[in-house]
């Protein structure tokens, strides 16, 4: 009798069903973000009505704190997970729309300075993290992932590099957990340090964009300080993101030369594939705004739409951060990441002070 081979049926959900599955999580993001906004407004109104001096806690922090509270107590139920994961989408759409608040001249001026600072930051961070990984005897590919994560742009850079250098899943989850935990820590410490050092909006925004790894956390750390600092943090972070292709390509070539990864055949296609397209979208909107394609009211509307997108992002940052899960990943990569981040934060702060002195900000 011939053997019967049972081929398991793989059901791909229809696009409509996939869209429906996003709804609960999206509603949760909106509810948390909106609750954060209401808390900010109501506490400020209460303080004013009762002549109290209360610290102004922005909606950004409330949304993150509410998300963190849910994620680390009751947890995020399965039904919400796919919708919550869309926070990255809102972050990128928000950044594109934020382009309307930048004139091309400002981008060229600040972009030139930040490009130089970013180049120094990336080179210094990769060199230091590689040295630290060797000192702590981490696996070489894990060290590469941690170096890329802290030098360029957090989780996206780690995911892009993992594929290019054929790193283990375990190494990438270690690095992602370390970068996320340190990003959450930076979110709360950076504004405190900035205020303690009396940093101006420009200096702080550039520092947050240079030193905080994940784009969502860099955006939030900037927005927690001030609106102007938030805008600059996004600009500098986007400049860092734009470098991702070059750094990943360099790592891919290095590991391929050691016979431990595939050779990159078409380098231009590789760079285009890794290039973050939202940076182009940001530039397109900025060019349109510079040449007055939008009226003043329309620019305000675009800016407000960008803030709504960020509101969903900040709620997602809190919901995505689970300290228990991060603790499970082990101490060594986290220690390397933590030492690296502290040194990179100090190094980038010195860079910002240097630029401030040189350019007379």
């Amino acid at each position: 009798m011939a053997d019967v081979i049972v081929v398991p049926q793989v059901h791909t959900p229809s696009p409509a069903w996939r869209a429906v599955r996003l709804v609960p999580g999206l509603l949760l993001l909106a509810a948390i973000g909106f609750a954060g906004k209401l808390l900010e407004q109501n506490i400020a109104a209460y303080a004013k009505a009762h002549h109290l001096v209360l610290p102004n806690i922005e909606y950004v922090l409330w949304a993150i704190l509410l998300g963190l509270a849910i994620s680390n107590t009751v947890g995020v139920p399965e039904i919400f997970k796919s919708g919550v994961a869309t926070y990255e989408f809102w972050l990128k759409a928000g950044i594109v729309l934020l382009g309307s608040r930048f004139l091309l001249g400002d981008i060229l001026k600040l972009g030139g300075v930040s490009l130089l600072l970013v180049a120094v930051e990336i080179t210094g961070s990769i060199a230091f993290m590689t040295l630290l990984g060797r000192l702590f005897k981490l696996k070489p590919k894990l060290t590469s992932l941690l170096a890329v994560g802290s030098a360029v742009c957090g989780v996206s850079a780690i995911i892009a590099t993992r594929g290019a250098i054929e790193a283990d899943d375990e190494d990438s989850s270690f690095s992602i957990a370390a970068i996320l935990a340190l990003g959450a820590f930076a979110l709360f410490t950076f504004p405190l340090i900035g205020h303690a050092l009396h940093l101006g909006d420009r200096a702080y925004g550039i520092w947050a964009g240079l030193a905080v790894d994940n784009t969502a956390e860099a955006t939030a750390a900037g927005a927690l300080y001030s609106d102007a600092a938030g805008k600059l943090a996004v600009l500098v972070k986007s400049t860092r993101n734009a470098m991702i292709g070059f750094v990943v390509l360099a790592y891919a070539i290095y590991w391929a030369s050691r016979g431990q990864a595939k050779t990159v055949q078409n380098k231009v296609a590789f760079l285009w594939e890794k290039f973050p397209k939202f940076v182009l979208g940001f530039l397109v909107i900025s060019v349109l705004a510079t040449y007055q394609f939008f009226s003043k009211e329309q620019v305000t509307a675009l800016g407000n739409l960008s803030r709504w997108a960020f509101l969903l992002t900040f709620a997602g940052v809190g919901l995505r951060t689970n300290f228990r899960e991060m603790r499970k990943q082990g101490l060594r990569p986290f220690t390397v990441g933590a030492i690296g981040e502290v040194v990179i934060a100090a190094f980038t702060l010195a860079l910002v002070f240097g630029a401030q002195k040189l350019l007379g900000w």
């Binding site: 990128k92 759409a93 939202f278 909107i285 394609f293 509307a301 675009l302």
Partner: protein, 43 residues
């Protein structure tokens, strides 16, 4: 290459990344604001 593999590759080639979708949706929203479909976005 089997027809299934070929089909999958062709489908993936035209699939937009999350990054590109964010750009498309944001540009579409900007266009709708520009042509006056959304006149005022409150905050």
């Amino acid at each position: 290459m089997s027809p299934i593999e070929e089909n999958t590759l062709n489908t993936n080639r035209w699939r937009l990344t999350l990054d590109s979708w964010a750009v498309v949706i944001a540009l579409l929203a900007a266009l709708l604001i520009r042509v006056g479909v959304f006149k005022h976005i409150p905050w």
